[in-house]
Structures are given as structure tokens and as C-alpha cells.
Symmetry: C2
Subunit: 520 residues, 2 copies
């Protein structure tokens, strides 16, 4: 039976005296880290939490976040990492949806958590894991650990539920992706060749730890007994400084972050020779950026990973040898790589049959990494997993060598700064404004973020509202990164397909003329 | 859900036009190989075999053996590879024990199979997969394939039984190890870093394909779309010729085979530069042999794997970077390496508690690679798997860095005057004498001490040394109670099991005739 905690015990067994985490003025070796994990699990049990209870984490990246990610499976609880960019009412929805019995927060989110508490009667335990003084009414993380007895491993594993990762949805409603112990261990094994790490690995958490992408690598870094470093907020200049100073060997980032790094004025002057692995994913990498990256980071092997939270998350990998601009292995750079060894990939047509090579269908996957389902959403689960395949909702095709090309997010997703923005969710927010007759939300090119969220709105007759006011309206309903950065008003109806669907391809055209968009 | 057939489909998807198998005058690419697998599965179904039925394979290594290993899981049957070194009555026991409904044989075993058939009423289908004319009363493999409809994948996976590997030979009573789809896929993922292969991999099956050791690598070579080559019988000179001629990149062999290869007169003159990976296991490697191997095969990265059929089979790995004689990574060469990423290892004492580092206990493992149990042996299963751990029966200790040292097969332990003597340690001492070509240390009856340590030694050609001098040599290296009390010299090679392990049961027999020894 596979257990997430086994990955931690491997680090404790093979690298007990090596650094596990280094953050601010704190350094812990793996034996100490494991002891703290067992104490945190014991403390949570002492607070009355029962096996299977959900515990949220709402915090920026830190060493304690990592402890929490292991303490939950150790104690038999289910961890629910929460997107830090959400509006308070979205956080409230998530905490309520999974009946969180406890929540760990840091100083950035303590106030928000305190304000939500009265509306969440199940949420009895608020633990402050941040820096500085513990707010009134919250339990202090270090005090809890100091007073707790280390718990024995609760013995969960295999198909037992271990984590809930929330994803945005086309319907506007978030879904909780249920990942088992086996899902997460299977992903760690699938991802091990991408990291190619050992106890000498120094991994910098540059992407947010609440997201499945960072966790793709997180558990492998632990299993090999590597060192974890943390950036609470991404900054390209700081990233470069830390790589040079702390001899970072590996990181996972999203393409917009690569873009910022490789164009940073200090990149050439910085010693990045330690950085052997840069794993990137979440959205396609423009070729101009990757070409620039080869020059700016000459010692680095790049790995593209494609997947989604529902696959825990990795499904395909494009390894360093395929990041070639010439030679026999060149020509695959526009692909997302090939199936992870333990995750079968197929391109299925509307009938559920395999599409011929080169023809676009839906990218589907199966294997031990595929989620148990959506939390309390049996119908959506059935839809996503019907026929034994995970249906990603992404359109793609496969070439003769098994390389997968993601050509379209079928769900109409905008990828902005590495965050997925589902246009349907933004459209719902716009539609809640009384003046809006019709709207469509698309991604438009943006030098900094890759894509920016753009709204196209037709107002009701005689209604008058400025684009600025509509944007402000959206900010009251959804996270800031989801709200449109720009809005254009029009008077003519939006173009429709024969089936009555808004033709977004038409709307995107004027913005993307002469440019490549992986998704059209 | 993990499926063995997924590994094959990955090869068909990523390397359809690349060579899958090359044997004698036959070459098949992966798309063709997959088609043949589906046809063989269809043919077996057409013969009336039902899902879950056991089908034996009794043959030397060949391309068709590989097809059979994938056709069984494809068709939903259970493959039972049979040890080719067995006496007919042992083969009869195995085929009867698992109620084989069909058997595939080659020309080497056709006669034996025909003679056993009348005594095995369940065994209705004999398929001839060998070279030359198909014997009377047997079905012809190629005719079956030509006439069959390709079957769809039967859809088995996860915990469904996929294979029965019989253990035995060195330890007495044979047991059928039940491996599931998940066990075999988990092992493939655990073993992938040891192979470090891709579609350019050229793997030579040098060890017998009926054994779990070769299958440790077999499924990974397939998953990456590598090329399979076959040696029906191992021969060091032929091995070297084939490496040079066919640019073999990887192989799995047992230490006795390495010994033959690295001391072969042609080794220095042979171009072995293609051979990037030599995975060895099944028994500890004497340091003198591995030192010689570094010189004789300078381009080769060595990986030691430790495990047993019950673990599908790999449990620990010692990677090339740890095959170092100097530098910061040196000093671990006497170990079997560290836990495979997906297989937790613990050294347990007699009470089932973890032994302190450095203290000998039983090597135990757990993870998705651990067998379902022994075929129709619930008591032995319970004994082997009690407490959630696979108990290997091997004695070992772990150092501070998590490296595992196999001090002996517990069954191989000699108890002399109340002291435990691990024969491997004594053998290592003997191997350090320059005149020793091959040796085995066993316990022999002793009126005073219960057992006495006895060495059986074959000297190198033209070497001359007395037993007394060898005993004195051992006294300079190990404690007096461990040194052999007697040594017999012999000129013929030591008897080997099918897996290439020295058959100590055979060596003990003349000493123990008419007496009881707890472990044989």
C-alpha cells in the first residue's frame, strides 16, 4: 500500500542530518522535520480532530506549510490547500464546501480568517502558523508543537482520501479534487525523472504551494531527502539572488515567471550554474521565451510538464533532451511531451474512440494518479471519469512519436500569470451587473502575464456604465487576478455560431493578428 | 488504475516504428509487436481459456516469450513463467499446483511437456512457440496468431492477479508468488531510474526470462519503447560479441555472470562502449569482482538491485554514483543501496520493532510492489506479510544514511557455538585471496559446535594454495569464530540455480545426509 508519509520517512531514513527546510532564521534537518510533523499531527488529534476531517491551509509559502502538508496525512486528516488569491467570499465557499474543521493561517490571511469564522460554525480551530504575534482567539503553532505528543502514523494509504485541491470551473463553481495517498505517490514516481534529484537537491518553492503544480515536485524533493527553500511571493530579481546565494538546483515555475527571469537585467551577471532543473508547466511556453531561456540559463535543463489537479497533476513530460533546437531530437518543443510512465494518454473523439494521429480530440488520461473524483459532486465526477478515462477538457493531438500538442482549452480557459482563469466565471460576474446585456471574456496578449483577461460587453438599451465601473464590480465578486484588466463596449450583438454559441475565435482575431496563441 | 498493458501501449504510442524485438532472423517493430500480443490473447480466448486462467511458459529466452508475457495480461489470463532448470517432477508439481490450463513451450522443453501431459488433466492446450517443426499434438504458435482475431484489452488492472512467479531452488519448498498488475507497474516505476532508458535503449536479456530479476527491467524497457534482444543461454564470450555487434546499452545479470564477463580473455579487446547500464542483483557482489568490472567495462554504469520475487522484485538500489571507490560518495559499495522510491524499507527485530542503525535484523519492505500473497498458501502468506510488512527472511542492517547491508540470507546463516555466522561475510574474505576463483561457505554438522563453518573453493587456473593457508588468510580479515574450520578445494564450477545463485542446498547435501537441518 502506498502512503504519502512513506516519502517523508524515506527522507528521515536516508538524510536524517541533512537540511530539510530553511526559511527566514529557521533551519531544520529531516529527523527534526519528521518529529515536528508527528507533533503537529498529535496536536491536531489533541484538538479533537478525527480521522478524515478536512483541515485548510491559507498561507504564503513557508517551511510550516510543508510541515502541514505532511502532518495531515500522518495524522489521518485531509489537507485542503486554499488559493491565496481568492476573494473572501470564495474562501468562505471553499471552507464551507468541505466542512473544514480546522484552518492554518499565516499573518497575511489571519484577518480574513477571523472575519470569516462567525459564518463557518464547523471551523472550530484556527491555528496561526505565521510570523509575529499570534492574534487573539487563535492557537499558536509553535506552542501546539511544543506541548504535543508526537503521533504515530495513522496508517492511511492507498485509496484513502489525502487532499482536496480546488479548481475553478466553467460553471463558475469551484470543485474539490479528491486526491488519494496513491494518487500523490503515483505522481511522485511519475515526476521523479523530471527532477532527477538526490539528497544534494536544493529546491526553491517559487510557485505557490497551494497549487497542484508545486506539489507535483514537492513530494519527490522530499522523497530524495532534498532541501526545501521558500519564496512567499515570487520576484524575478530575488529569485536570481537566491539561486546564486543558496545554490538552488531545481525549481518549478510557470512560463510567465520564466519570462520575467530570463529578461531580468541581472540574469547574465548572476551565477545560475547550480540550477540544473527548471520544471515549467501550467501553460504553453512561447518559443521566443524558451530560446531566450537557453541563452540566459545555460546550465539549466528544462522540463515541461502538462497536467491538471485531477491528475495529481502530471500527465506528460518534455525532458531536457527534447528541448533541442537542432539535431535528431529537435522539433518537439511545441509539444507538451509524452505520457508519464505511469499515466496512459489517449486523444479521444466525441464518441470516445481514439482519434487518428494528428487529429484534434480531447486529451484523456488514466493511471494511479487519476483523482478519486470531485468532492460531493457525483455527477461531475461521472462526467469527468466516464469510460475509465480522465477527460481533461483540453483539446490536443498526438504526433507519430506520441508527443502531445495542447491546441485548445476546451473549457475556454485564460492563462494569466500562470493562473487559470475560466472565462465563464468572469462572465458570470459581469452578468451580475444590471446594465450588462451580453458579454464574452477572452485572453488577449500581454507582454508581462502572457495573457490578460479582457471583457467584451454589450450593454442593455439605455444603460450606461463605464468599463472602469464594470471592472470594479467584478472585483467585489471574484479574485483580483480573475477580474478583467480591460473591457471594450460594443453595440452590435456578439457573433454566434450555428449552435448559438458565442464565437470567441472571431472575437480574439483582432487581438492576436500576426501572433501565435497556442489556444485559438 | 494501473495496468501492465499500459506499459506496452506506451511503447506502441511513442515508438510504433522502432524495433521492439530482434531474435534470430525475426525483427518486429512495436506496432507489430502489439498487434501480435492482441492476436495471441485472442487465440488463447479462442481456445476456451477464461479470464483468470493460468498459462505456463516453459522456454528459453526469445521474442515470443516476451509476447507471451504481455499477451496474458492483455487477455486477462495469469502468466506462470517456469524455471527452466527444474527436473520434470518439479515442473509437474508447479503446473499442477496452479492448475495451468495451457502451456507454451519451445523446442528445448517440448519433449518434457509432452511426457507430463497425461498426468496433468487440466492442461488441455500445449502451444509450441519454439523453432523448427511443431510436434504432433501441439498447437503451432504462428498458425494460431495468423488465424486469430486481435483481442481487445480485457481491462484487468490494479489488484487483479497478473502473474505467478515461483520461488525456490535455494530455499526448499516452492511457493507461487502472486503478483498483481499494480505490483508489476509499481516495480517498473521504481526501476525506471536504474535503467535511465529511452527509445534508444537496446536491452539484452542475458538472465533467464522466467525469473523476476529479468522482469524487473523487462517492463521498463518496454515502457520506454526500447529494443529487446535475447540470449537463450548465457555465455560470456557470446555476450561480449553481441554487445559489440548490436550496440547493447543495458542488461541485467547476476554477479556470477559479471565474474565470467570481466575475466573473459576477450573483454579488453571488445568494444563495450555502448553498454551504459549493467544492473546486477540476486546475490551480493564480491568487492574484488566489482573492482575488476570497473576496469574491464569502463563505459558502464553499474546499478545493484536488491529484492525478491515477493517484491516484484526490487526493494533497494545502489546507483552508479555510489559505485565510487573514492570521493564523497564512496564507501557504500558493500551495501545494496537505499530504498526504491516507492518501497519503504525497515530493519525489524524479532518483536517487529525497528532495529537501531547498524544492528542486524530482518530486512522488511512495504509498498505497492509487495505481492498479493502466496498462491493457495494463506498461512505462509500471513507469515510473510504480518504486520503490514513483507518479511524477506534476509538479515541486514542499515547505516546512518539509509544504506542497507545484506549480511546474509537468514536461511544461509550458520549457527556455530551459539554465534551467528553470515556466510556472505566469510565468502567476501575468501574472495579477497588472489587465488580464489569461486567459493561458497556453508554450515556442516559438528558434534561440539552444532554447525561448523566450511568453505568450498575453486581456485583460478594455475593457482595453488592450501586450505590451511586460505583459513589463515581469513583469520587476518574476520573474527576467529567466523573463519572456516575446514575448506575443500574443487576444480569443477559450483552448481547454480536457474537464477544464477549458487545452490547451497546441493553443496550441503553430502554433509547432512540422514540428518536434520532447520533450514535447507
Amino acid at each position: 500500500m502506498s502512503q504519502i508519509t512513506q516519502l517523508l520517512r524515506r527522507a528521515m531514513q536516508t538524510a536524517p542530518a541533512r537540511t530539510a527546510t530553511q526559511h527566514l532564521d529557521r533551519t531544520r534537518v529531516w529527523s527534526e522535520f519528521g518529529e515536528r510533523v508527528a507533533r503537529l499531527a498529535g496536536a491536531l488529534g489533541g484538538l479533537g480532530l478525527q480521522g478524515g476531517d478536512r483541515v485548510g491551509v491559507l498561507a504564503l509559502n513557508s517551511d510550516r506549510y510543508l510541515e502541514a502538508l505532511f502532518a495531515m496525512p500522518w495524522g489521518g486528516f485531509v489537507v485542503a490547500p486554499i488559493n491565496t488569491r481568492l476573494a473572501p467570499r470564495e474562501v468562505e465557499f471553499w471552507l464551507g464546501d468541505c466542512d473544514c474543521a480546522g484552518l492554518l493561517v499565516d499573518e497575511t490571511f489571519a484577518e480574513m480568517a477571523a472575519s470569516l469564522r462567525p459564518r463557518l460554525p464547523r471551523l472550530k480551530r484556527l491555528i496561526f502558523m505565521g510570523e509575529g504575534a499570534t492574534p487573539e482567539g487563535m492557537l499558536d503553532y509553535e506552542t501546539l508543537l511544543a506541548e504535543a505528543h508526537p503521533a504515530a502514523d495513522a496508517g492511511r494509504g492507498g485509496d484513502d482520501l489525502a487532499a482536496l485541491f480546488y479548481t475553478g470551473g466553467t460553471t463558475g463553481r469551484s470543485k474539490g479534487v479528491m486526491l488519494s495517498h496513491r494518487n500523490i505517490v503515483a505522481n511522485a514516481l511519475n515526476t521523479a525523472p523530471a527532477l532527477a534529484g538526490d539528497e544534494g537537491t536544493v529546491y526553491l518553492h517559487a510557485a505557490p504551494m497551494f497549487h497542484a503544480a508545486d506539489n507535483a515536485v514537492n513530494f519527490v524533493v522530499t522523497a530524495v531527502g532534498g532541501k526545501h527553500l521558500f519564496m512567499p511571493r515570487f520576484d524575478a530579481g530575488l529569485f536570481l539572488q537566491r539561486v546564486a546565494r543558496e545554490k538552488v538546483t531545481a525549481t518549478l515555475i510557470v512560463p510567465t515567471m520564466i519570462n520575467m527571469i530570463v529578461h531580468h537585467p541581472e540574469v547574465e551577471a548572476t551565477d545560475t550554474s547550480s540550477l540544473k532543473r527548471m520544471i515549467y508547466g501550467a501553460s504553453p511556453m512561447p518559443e521566443a521565451v524558451i530560446r531566450r531561456a537557453f541563452v540566459a540559463l545555460p546550465a539549466t535543463g528544462f522540463v515541461q510538464a502538462y497536467g491538471q489537479s485531477e491528475a495529481a497533476p502530471c500527465m506528460t513530460f518534455l525532458y531536457p533532451d527534447r528541448h533541442a533546437l537542432e539535431g535528431p531530437k529537435a522539433g518537439k518543443l511545441k509539444s507538451a511531451g509524452r505520457a508519464a510512465m505511469g499515466c496512459e494518454i489517449a486523444i479521444l473523439d466525441a464518441q470516445g474512440d481514439e482519434a487518428p494521429r494528428g487529429e484534434v480530440g480531447e486529451i484523456c488520461g488514466r493511471g494511479d494518479n487519476v483523482m478519486l473524483g470531485y468532492w460531493r459532486q457525483p455527477e461531475l465526477t461521472q462526467k469527468a471519469l466516464h469510460g475509465g478515462w480522465l477527460h481533461t477538457g483540453d483539446g490536443g493531438y498526438m504526433d507519430e512519436d506520441g508527443f502531445v500538442y495542447v491546441v485548445d482549452r476546451m473549457k475556454d480557459m485564460i492563462v494569466s500569470g500562470g493562473e487559470n482563469v475560466y472565462s465563464a466565471e468572469v462572465e458570470q460576474a459581469l452578468y451580475q451587473h444590471i446594465a450588462v446585456a451580453e458579454c464574452a471574456v477572452i485572453g488577449v496578449p500581454d507582454a508581462k502575464w502572457g495573457e490578460a483577461v479582457h471583457g467584451i460587453v454589450r450593454l442593455k438599451p439605455n444603460a450606461a456604465v463605464s468599463p472602469e465601473a464594470l471592472i470594479a464590480h467584478c472585483h467585489t465578486l471574484i479574485a483580483g487576478y480573475k477580474a478583467p484588466r480591460s473591457i471594450s463596449l460594443r453595440t452590435e450583438p456578439l457573433p454566434l455560431s450555428g449552435a448559438g454559441k458565442i464565437l470567441k475565435t472571431e472575437l480574439r482575431k483582432p487581438f492576436w493578428e500576426g501572433r501565435d496563441r497556442a489556444v485559438n
